[in-house]
Every structure is written in C-alpha cells, then in structure tokens.
Amino acid sequence: MSSDSTAILDDYKYGFYTEIETDSVPKGLNEDVIRIISAKKEEPEWMLEWRLKAYRWWLKQQEPKWAHLDYPPVDFQDICYYSAPKKKSDNPDEIDEELAATFEKLGIPLHERDRLAGVAVDAVFDSVSVGTTHRELLAEKGIIFCSISEAIREHPELVKKYLGTVVPYTDNYYASLNSAVFTDGSFCYIPKGVRCPVDLSTYFRINALDTGQFERTLIVAEDSSYVSYLEGCTAPSRDRNQLHAAVVELIALDKAEIKYATVQNWYAGDKEGKGGIYNFVTKRGHCRGQNSKISWTQVEAGSAITWKYPSVIMEGDNSSGAFYSVAVTTNKMQADTGTKMVHIGNNTKSTIVSKGISAGKSVNSYRGLVQVLPDAANCRNYSNCDSMLIGGECSANTFPYIESENSSAVIEHEATTSRVSEDQIFYLKSRGLSEEDAISMVVNGFAREVFKQLPLEFSVEAIKLLEMKLEGSIG
C-alpha cells in the first residue's frame, strides 16, 4: 500500500460561501457592542443586564490552558460578534430565497412544502435564526420550538426561569463570553406529559468572514415529557480560523427524557492545518427531577480545535445520564473532548461510550470525569473509551478522572487503543471489498455502539461523513 498515509481528500462539500448583504457590527468587543446586539434583538432590560454581568466577569478570567491542545491565542478584538443577513421583507414568516437556497444545498429544506418529514428544523445563519419548520404541529401540543431570541421576546418568564441555571455565566471562560455575546440558537419547551411527535433539530451555519458564532440553546422538558433533539453544523472553507463558542443547557424534570444528538462538521482547515473553526463548547444537562434521563450523542468530525465536554448532573434520585461519542480527527485537527458525569442523587446511573478515531497528524484526546458526591448512594457508572489509530503519525490520549466520595458506588472503566491494521484491510480486500469500503467497514464497526444511538437517517449521514473524512487515510 502507498506510504502517503496523510493524503486525505480535501473535499469539504459544505465549504461554499453565500453572497448576501449583511447587517454587521464592527469587529471588537466592549460593552457598547453588547448593547448593540441586545438592542438589535429587541431584548428586555434584564437580558442586557445579564449579558453585561457576564462580560464583566469574563474580563477578569484567564483563557483555560489545561486542554491537550496547541493553538495561537485568539484575538477577541479581531472578531465580529454580530452578523445577520439583511431582511428583505418585514413578514417574519417569509424566508429569504437566497438563504432558503443555502440551506437547501446543505440538505435542509426550509419551505413548508418540502420540509423534512419527521423533523422540525430551526435554521441559524451566522447570528440569527432564519426559519423554523413544523410550527403548527408543535403548537397544537403546546410545544414551544423557536429561536432563543424569539423566546426571550415572546416567553420571557420561561427563559428567565431557566437560562443560566445549568451553565451559569460564571461557569468558565467560554461560557462567560457566550453569555455576554450570544446571538442565536434554539429554545425548546416540552410541556408536562407531552411526547414530542417529531425530532427537533437546529442547523447552524457560519457564513460571514471573521465572525464568531455564539449559539445558545436551552431545552426544558417538563414532568413526564420526551424530546429528541438533533444538531448539525457546517461553515465555509476559509484559510483563517473562526471562533464558535456555544452553550447548550438541558433541563429534565421528573420522569422527563431528553436525547440530544450532534453531528458536528465545521470546517476543519486544510491538510496543512490552515484555517478551520475553533470550537469551544459548554454543553450540560441537568436531571433536575427524579427518574429523569438525559443522553448526549455526538459525532465530532470537523473543527480545527474541539474543546467540548457534554455533561450530565444527576440530581434527581434514580436519574440517568449517558454520553456516546465518536470523535474523528484527520490532517492536523486537534480534539480534546469527553464528558462529566456528576452523581448527586441516589441510585443514579451513568454510561460513557467514547470512540476516538485519529488519522493523519491529528491529536485526539478523551477527557472525562465521573464524580460521586458523599450523599449519593448506590450510584453506578460504566465507561468505555476506545481509540483507533490510522497511520503512524497521529496520536490518541485518554484522561479519565474518577472522584468517588461514596463507598457504595460501582464504577467501571475500560479503555483500549487499537490500530487499523494492514492485515484487517487486506483481509476485507481479499473478499472483494475496495480499500475505501474496507476502511469504512472497520471504522463503522468500531463506532457502531455510538451510531446505533442516533436516529436512523442521522446515523446514515454520520456514517457517510466518516467515510468521506477518512477516504485515502490508510497507509
């Protein structure tokens, strides 16, 4: 086989750019910029105050350096914090044709006539939401699914009650920044006893140059409700790095269940590591009620830098948290990702399944914390962290932390590292499979446990994405 193990096709098919007139604020960050963002979104005073408090806190913080990542410092004054496509019409239900075409190209039709069956989509373009589908169906059930900006205006009491209660603005450097300048994202509210009839989905698209995307998503599931939520992301190919710092908060009350799935395919930079998205994300779920369930499933396939630890705080007794992750890094990508499972309630259970796949010259690290508090009796955790290496120049690391303060806890941890071997590929090729199919079979087998957590169409997409990412990467 060829020795050129690093040659990965750089055909990021979402790398196009949409020419569109924008309404942007000048680059840089200060209180005036935050006031402008808040004013553009017609926010109430309390929201602005919250943003400013977050900003003032952020100013006093240092950028965290503990992750196994290497990148030049981010110049926060060289970023544009708000960019929105100019509205051509005053009718809020009318979607701009240019934008609709962009999302169509990304496989996300927004027009009601050809919207995706079984999935309600909120489409976010740079700093604003440009449309949400399936609204009537959801409204009938009392489900609120809209952009966070709209929720702040239309449902201030709900937003005020829950925003920042899982990830406070003092939580960490990037969460503080996000709290100060967040622009859009989704808000979902599932009332008591309602099982959401369709999957809810947000599609994030970064388009404008030198613009940061600071999405904020808040999902609240009332007692005995259920929702499955999907998130997808892409951005144009550019040779300059762009910042994406998101915060996602999930709240599950008694017997509620939230399933949150992400396929992250931000532009990862080119072969030499030039360009790509810096992805600094704080995602956290709070099992606030008894017998509640929260699961995170993620397929991380893009971004130059990934810093992301979707976590679950299990406060309610008998609640459970899960984290299923496939993180694939190629070329010079770097990922430091994992989870935190915090057991506070009795009989709480958590599951962690992490599959890291590294190719090229990439660095892929799993970092996870399992914490059992002193008063949490009979808690269980099962963790399985496997790494697969493709070629000889990449690396994989596992940093598991266990802090158990209650002796009744049962914690299991398994970890393996394997290499896609020449013998495996030869074996499959000798049965008639092409090299690409052989690699894809090995990798999909490896990540199978995670893929089966995804809704079917999503898992098909995720498998295709993985195949595309790893094409030509076996030496």
Partner: protein
C-alpha cells in the same frame, strides 16, 4: 491454449518480504477441476505463497508470473483478484469488531458477484443453509466477524465465506491446523461441497490427516522456497497403497506431520 490448460499457473515466482527472499522460483500448474496439495516444513514459504497469490502488500514479487484464466493476477489488486474468483482461506483470520458476519458476507458477496446482487431475504436463506451444513449455531451470523471466535470457529468461518463467495479457485492455508477431528470433517465437507469440474483447489498443509478427507489429484513438496518434488495420479495411487511415510523418509519428518 484452452482454459483447462491454463486455469491456474504459477511460473518462476520469486517473492520477498522486508528484503528477505522467501520464494525462489516456484512453478505450479493446476487445471480446472483439480485439487492439489502443497506440503512442506515450517518456514518453507507455504504461507508466503498463499499471501502472494492473494496480493498481500507485505510481500514483493521480484520475478515470475501468476496466471488465472488468462489474467495476469499480479497486476490486480486483492479485491480484483477476489472479484475474478480467487479465494484464500486464511491461516490466521483477523477480527473485525462491530461488523456482523451477516453484514460482512452480504457486502463481500455483492462485491464479488455484482450481477447476482440478491435480496437480503434470499441471501439470508442461503446463508442459513450453509451454516447448517457446516454445523454451526444460527447465532453465528449476528456475531462480530471473528471477534472472540475460537480457533475452530474461525476456520469454519473461512469455509463459510468460501461457500458464500463461490470462488473458482481457492487456496487453503493450513486450514486444518489446530482443528480436532470433528471440526476437520466439517471443514472437509464444506470444501468437498464446492469441489467439482468448475473449481480448482490448492490445499496447503502440514498434516497428513486432512488428505484423507480432501483427496488431492497432485502433490507438491515445497522446501526453502522451491518445489522440490511433484507428482500426479500415479503418486496418489502409490500413497493410497503405501501411505505417506516415504515422503517423510525422503524429505524429512517436518514436511508432513503424521
């Protein structure tokens, strides 16, 4: 030359791995419908020959040819060799965790026989019949390929693959090693199901006993990368009458373990 003349032919084959020559001029010709046995001590190059026939990237062919049904095999990638009808039953099959036997066999079948792309239901029916024939448990098809399989299960899996892919020419690389007598009978039964006028087989072995179940038409003895002795029907007849002891006497005890 007609097909029966040049069904499978190796001419003056030289191959090396990591710069060390292993095969030093192998010649071998197998006609359609024939079964040949290749014997030899450890390190004589038997497995290298099997891997070179299938195109393992760790071996470099430095001279010679392999011709199969008029095609120069050495110009083909391993997957093209499989698609052309060549098959290798591996001595040490590798595991592919997370990939079910059924999914793997369907993909391999469709890759080798694009013209026969069968419906899943028909495919499964045939698969279940083959599994039964090989006396394997039905749950086999949902297990992950070779993952946690015992030695005997792995060998049956190789034969199951052979029955599924229906190759025109197969090489069995010490499939009999490590098998108990019952497993050996099952494996032989599987092989004999494929044997016929449209099939060719090269059985590489180290043990006499498999030859009692798979009756070769020709025998070859490989020592230090060269075939030092070959014989046809007259030799087989001699073997039937007086056994294999003369092989050991002439070429050493390690050529063929009794």
């Amino acid at each position: 030359m007609s097909d029966t003349q040049t069904y499978f032919e190796i001419r003056n084959l030289h191959a090396e791995t990591e710069g060390i020559p292993i095969l030093k001029g192998v010649d071998l010709s197998i006609k359609q419908g024939e079964t040949h046995a290749l014997m030899g001590p450890n390190g004589s190059g038997k497995s290298t020959l099997a891997n070179v026939i299938m195109g393992h990237p760790a071996y470099e062919v430095t001279d010679g040819e392999i011709i199969f049904m008029g095609q120069n095999v050495l110009e083909l990638d391993p997957e093209e060799r499989a698609q052309a009808g060549l098959f290798l039953a591996f001595q040490y099959p590798v595991a592919i965790p997370g990939v079910s036997v059924a999914k793997f066999l369907k993909s391999a079948h469709d890759a080798c026989h694009p013209e026969l792309k069968s419906k899943s239901s028909e495919f499964l029916k045939e698969l279940r019949e083959n599994i039964k024939y090989l006396e394997v448990d039905d749950s086999f098809i949902n297990r992950y390929l070779n993952d946690g399989f015992s030695g005997g299960e792995k060998k049956r899996m190789e034969i199951l693959q052979m029955l599924t892919l229906k190759p025109k020419f197969a090489v069995m690389d010490e499939t009999d090693s490590g098998l108990d007598i019952d497993a050996l009978k099952v494996v032989s039964k599987g092989v004999n199901k494929l044997a016929g006028p449209n099939f060719g087989l090269l059985v590489i072995t180290h043990y006499e006993r498999i030859l009692r179940y798979i009756h070769p038409d020709h025998l070859h003895i490989l020592i230090e990368g060269k075939i030092v002795h070959s014989g046809g029907p007259e030799l087989v007849k001699k073997l039937e009458e007086s056994g294999y002891d003369w092989v050991r006497e002439q070429f050493g005890q390690e050529v063929l373990v009794g």
